[in-house]
Amino acid sequence: MAEAGAAIALDGVRFAWPGRGGFRLTVPHLAVARGERLLLVGPSGCGKSTLLNLLCGTLSPTAGRIALLGRELTGMAGPARDAFRAEHIGVIFQMFNLVPYLSVLDNVLLPLRFAPGRRARAAAAAGSAAAEAIRLLERLGLDRTKVRHEARAATLSVGQQQRVAAARALLGRPEIVVADEPTSSLDRAHQLSFLELLAQELAAGGGTLVMVSHDPSLAARFDRTLELPTVATIEPGLPAHT
């Protein structure tokens, strides 16, 4: 049963990729409190990306319930899930996070096209959504002296792209941020500073962070760390999927 007041609650969730002969992900129970920073650690192929897709509502479980911010995600129709994701969830991928043909600023502002609530919050925070986007970019170390905000995203280094993705995920203060190994392509020093900035911005807005990684040494930066295999069980199919 989902805990009342939890940011994220999964119960009896099962998922199978259609046509993937046998691959099954099962999550008997998982709850994340509001404002909590949770690190899910696990090796490749343990179902991390599939779990994140389920959390974001881009994939639907074949059984079980997923509730986010007290709302039953599994009960929503596709368009409602997409709208909910746009309004309440920020996502950071491992790499190749940005739309390459858009500018840095347009990439950060992209979610607002689908989320009027976030647009209003972003505008209220700094006078305009663009001003808030620039503030976040500067906060994440991407002021105009270092990066032209009008430059195409593809021209940035991997580390810079990750910070732009973080600014995008944080813009308009979504209640939940989901990150899929966002620091795996960064060196140690940049990993730590990136996580520090992410944590600070989330703390300011009271957001919840769920991050998956194969690096258990990051645990000190999180409120709680869970080994993914203890949360979810996998029956590998052919071929295996992460």
């Binding site: 259609p18 990306s49 599939t50 994140l52 897709n53 974001c56 881009t58 994939l59 596709g78 368009p79 997409d82 709208a83 994701r85 746009a86 309004e87 996502v91 991928f93 190749f96 996070n97 940005l98 739309v99 390459p100 043909y101 858009l102 347009d106 502002l109 992209l110 979610p111 096209r113 689908f114 989320a115 995008r168 999927h241 992460t242």
Partner: protein, 419 residues
């Protein structure tokens, strides 16, 4: 950020491929509209050539043949009308005016037309415009000639220039009437009709140059000088055809029946508009075949666009995953790719129209002088606008094929890029 802006940014990111695709569409649109303009231009040109003429009378034969040789100077007459019959028709109470046409001679490949001053008074072309003189005027002397604008321009003739006509229609004109030269007395303004390619002389002059000829060759031992012929009574014996204007359109069928049932010789009266319809019916099949080819060219260009977009889908899975992560629905992905197809279609169509106008500006004088086809440069017609809209619509609908595939991929993949 609007979907169209997103789509245009995506296309700009792949500009070399997008440009080539738009160019392929543009060329197909140019071809489609070009064929349409030539088709409608040819029809307008034909219709405009016989404006204001109620009936055309000639020797009995094919209606289409009569129309072609009398008005468009294409082909040859089967027989002549005697002068007596011509006068009978002219005397019919319903006939307001009649213009004789006598064909058979030429000047450097241009047809020589024997007629009278009524030709310059009554002949009408495109929208009922009368013939106007750019220089000089109608016949004042037996051996005066009035040139169509193209004859004067191509041969570099001016007023007062002496010219010799040849017997028959051969370009070289071996049998020449060089003992009775003509003098250019007038040059007509451009009409965009076969009039421009005609040398006009009087009916009496036609008689005069043939007074010592028989069976298409000079009569041996009989030479009548130009001065001597002036003193002769030059009464036409026959004409090739006649253009007839009536007192009232209501009398059209009455006069037509009068001519067709004329007892003294077998004659034929045709309604130019109705006979042109016969011509369109004959040409219709060829036109349809040509249109089908151009439509296939457009379809091929659009197919190229679909192929290009489908080929790019695999490398764009990450882009779609990112869009899905920020809240884009699979329908948004479908809309994005459809918008890209719409933009490519619009860009290709606009470029095609520009190419068409460029080509028309460059080639119009050549087509006009070489083929006598005046292609007006104007705003696209309703039919052309409908065709352009059809291309854009077809392109957008074709874009639904890759868009639907992207939609299915985004539903299946979520935010994961499956390989």
């Amino acid at each position: 950020m609007s979907l169209l802006r997103l789509a245009s940014a995506s296309l700009l990111n792949r500009w070399p491929v997008a440009l080539l695709t738009a160019l392929a569409i543009a060329l197909s649109v140019t071809l489609l509209l070009g064929v349409e303009r030539i088709r409608s231009g040819a029809r307008d040109s034909f219709v405009g050539t016989v404006a204001g003429t109620d009936l055309i009378v000639g020797a009995r034969g094919g209606a289409l043949n009569l129309l072609l040789y009398s008005v468009f100077r294409i082909g040859n007459p089967t027989n002549n009308i005697t002068w007596a019959s011509y006068q009978d028709i002219a005397a019919h109470p319903d006939v307001a005016w009649i213009v004789p046409l006598s064909l058979g001679d030429s000047h450097f490949g241009f047809r020589v037309l024997g007629t009278n001053d009524d030709y310059f008074r009554h002949y009408r072309y495109r929208d009922g415009q009368p013939l106007r003189f750019a220089a000089g005027g109608p016949f004042t002397d037996l051996f005066d000639a009035v040139l169509g604008s193209e004859v004067a321009a191509r041969l570099g003739y001016d007023l007062g220039r002496e010219i010799v006509v040849a017997h028959g229609l051969g370009r070289e004109g071996f049998a020449r009437h060089d003992d009775k030269p003509f003098r250019v007395a007038g040059i007509l303004e451009r009409t965009g009709t076969p009039v421009d390619r005609t040398v006009h002389v009087s009916l009496e002059a036609i008689e005069a140059i043939h007074v010592d000829w028989q069976g298409g060759a000079p009569v041996p031992g009989r030479r009548v000088s130009a001065e001597a012929v002036r003193a002769m009574e030059l009464r036409p014996r026959a004409v090739t055809a006649a253009l007839v204007g009536l007192q009232s359109r209501l009398a059209t069928f009455r006069v037509q029946r009068f001519v067709n049932e004329y007892r003294q010789e077998p004659l034929l009266a045709i309604l130019p508009g109705a006979t042109l319809q016969e011509l369109w019916a004959i040409l219709g099949t060829a036109e349809q075949a040509l249109s089908a080819v151009t439509v296939m060219v457009v379809a091929t260009a659009l197919l190229g666009m679909v192929t290009m977009t489908l080929a790019s889908l695999a490398e764009r899975r990450r882009e779609m995953a990112i869009l899905r992560s920020v809240g884009a629905s699979p329908r948004t992905i479908l809309g994005l790719l459809t918008a890209e197809a719409l933009l490519l279609g619009l860009a290709g169509t606009a470029l095609g129209v520009l190419l068409l106008y460029g080509a028309q500006l460059a080639l119009q004088p050549v087509i006009d002088s070489r083929y006598g086809l005046y292609l007006a440069i104007g705003a696209p017609s309703r039919r052309e606008l409908a065709m352009l809209a059809g291309v854009v619509l077809a392109g957008t609908l074709a874009g639904l094929i890759p868009a639907w595939r992207a939609y299915r991929m985004s539903v299946a993949d979520g935010m994961t890029v499956r390989t």
